[in-house]
Amino acid sequence: MGEKPIKGEQKAFMTGNEAVAWAALAAGADIMYGYPITPQNEIMQYWTRLAPKYEKKFLQTEDELSAGFTTVGGVLAGRRAFTATAGPGNVLMQEPMSMAEAMRIPTVVVVQQRGGPSTATVIYSQQEVTLTCFGGNGEGLRVVYSTSSHQELFDYTIKAFNTAWKYRFPTFVLADGYQAKMRESLVLYDPQEKGQKMVPTEAFVGKPGTPGEDRAPAHLRNTYNIEEELMDELAKDIKEYEEMTPEITEYEEFNTQDTDVLIVAHGIVFRSVAMAARELAEEGLKVGYFRPITLRPFPRQELQKAAAKAKQILVVESAYGQLLKMVKDNLYGLDVPIKGYLRPGVGITPEEVVADVRTILGEEE
Amino acid sequence: MVKTDIKYVQKDVHKGKAMFRIFPGLCKGCGLCREKCPEEALSWSEELGVYGTPTVVADAEKCKACRICERVCPDCAIAIERKAKQKKEN
């Protein structure tokens, strides 16, 4: 490897896509495979500018199927490999990621959500939550981090490689077009310098020695002949997924001790929610928030705890109930009323959230 | 854009045998026509086009009404009318 891309802590003002490219470098990613799609393009563009300087590689593939499957190949070869996509590209990405899920291949995918369904808009949404968490013909045995700032995009992209390689589930960093394209400040750093060890990678194929002589050959597959064989495999994976869950779920909460309105939101929308909740709380209103950072696995117990003390839950998202469904699923059994403020495909301002909470609280704006 | 009332600027060229007409509402000022004119007859005009950029105008003397500019305009902003023919047609 060439010289360290980042030395010390460096304050930077850049786009989210640039932050992802720097994070991948900082994490020691070896190779990126990708296919252009807005609003993710600049990740590739920064990576291709930076990569040669640090002996990193890049391959632009013919489509997202190929981007995903080459990423799978890169990981099989024992490299920290990643890709990035969005929208219709994320739909296609589900085929390779279903293979990664079945075979426990630690791929890392950055998703910058755009409007949906179909080509829709190249701009923004939170409509790829169900897709990213549960896409493919499986049970969603993946890890999905939803970021809400450039700092987090940087932090969680690094973390994604570690989670993936430690637990061997495909891992996603879920952001959106706003985060991708906007510029704000963050601090870049080398995780190793900060004592954050990178989980070492390991080759699945091409290890030293002659297979059948020095060692057993790797015989990797995702196909089973008999139903029960598959179920046993799934049972094992599900067990490991559930054992991992308490170790990796992350969330953030505020004012959840005794709330009239508990607002649940993730990603960039969470920022508007946080502003709104703090503003209302400062006025003395009992308004708090809960933000899942891992959407998969979901911080179920933590949300249940916070929700149990609330009079009303308000789920705010730039989608038509994708987070809402998760919240209801995870809170089933409670009887706190849940309302959605659902704006599929468009941004949500703090003002809107404030207004909606006031309406709930019966106040006039 | 509405179909009626499309603004244009026209000018006699080729010794009065033809008319050079430019539709500023269509011209994006790309300059492709200027480069292709074999007579170097096109220059930038004071008249601004749809993006606020200059449109083109033909030199009455140089222009031979060959229609190359009309053909290469990706926006159909130029129309050359050969008058002689028009007369015949009438």
Binding site: F13, T38, P39, T121, V122, I123, S149, Y178, K181, M182, R183, E184, S185, I268, R271, S272, A274, M275, G347, I348, T349, P350, E351, E352 | Y51, G52, T53
Partner: protein, 190 residues
């Protein structure tokens, strides 16, 4: 400045709106401010209106977009129609005096609606190319989000390589910045 200043700046594709935002936020960054800048973008960007949403303040910025700007600037008729929705009771709405036929599209609620002869000034006194820098000057005049000095530094950083070849350009840019600043400063909005 203890409040975050929210700016929406809109113009046609070629008018350099995003360049203004880039330089302005660069200047703010040099002053150690917190910034969030997001361009609007869409598939038809080519022929469409381009908007820059910029927020500058002392604390981490919250949401990337806002309902109401502190200052909204529109540089074409389509831009006026596209961003008048961002004007609220406290908003200063600035548009170019040369824009015609937008009388009915100007925001009714704004604190102040200001037509400035930016295009004309740029064309006549300076050069059409520095129109956007003049606008940046006006923006700074109306908000004081950065000092003129820092703005000049940022311009230097961005365009310095051009100035090397043609020092007159520097002069022209700085002059445009100052003219823009004065245009608004003179109106007493700031």
């Amino acid at each position: 400045m203890d409040k975050t200043v929210k700016i929406a700046l809109a113009g046609e594709g070629g008018q350099g709106v995003q360049s203004v935002a880039m330089i302005l936020t660069e200047a703010a960054a040099m002053e150690g401010k917190e910034i969030l800048y997001i361009p609007n973008f869409g598939v038809e960007q080519r022929g469409g209106v381009s908007i820059a949403f910029v927020q500058i303040g002392d604390k981490k910025i919250g949401a990337p977009k806002f309902k109401t700007g502190d200052i909204v600037i529109a540089l074409s008729d389509r831009a006026v129609r596209r961003v008048n929705m961002y004007a609220g009771h406290e908003t200063i709405f600035i548009y170019d005096a040369g824009i015609e036929g937008v009388e009915d599209d100007l925001p009714e609620v704004a604190q102040r609606v200001l037509a400035i002869p930016a295009l004309e000034t740029a064309n006549k006194e300076l050069h059409p190319r520095v129109f956007n820098v003049l606008i940046m000057g006006a923006l700074i005049g109306a908000t004081h989000v950065v000092t003129l000095e820092k703005a000049k530094e940022a311009i230097e950083k961005k365009l310095g390589y051009k100035f090397e070849q043609n020092p007159k350009l520097r002069e022209m840019n700085f002059k445009a910045l100052e003219r823009g600043y004065e245009m608004v400063a003179g109106t007493g909005v700031a």
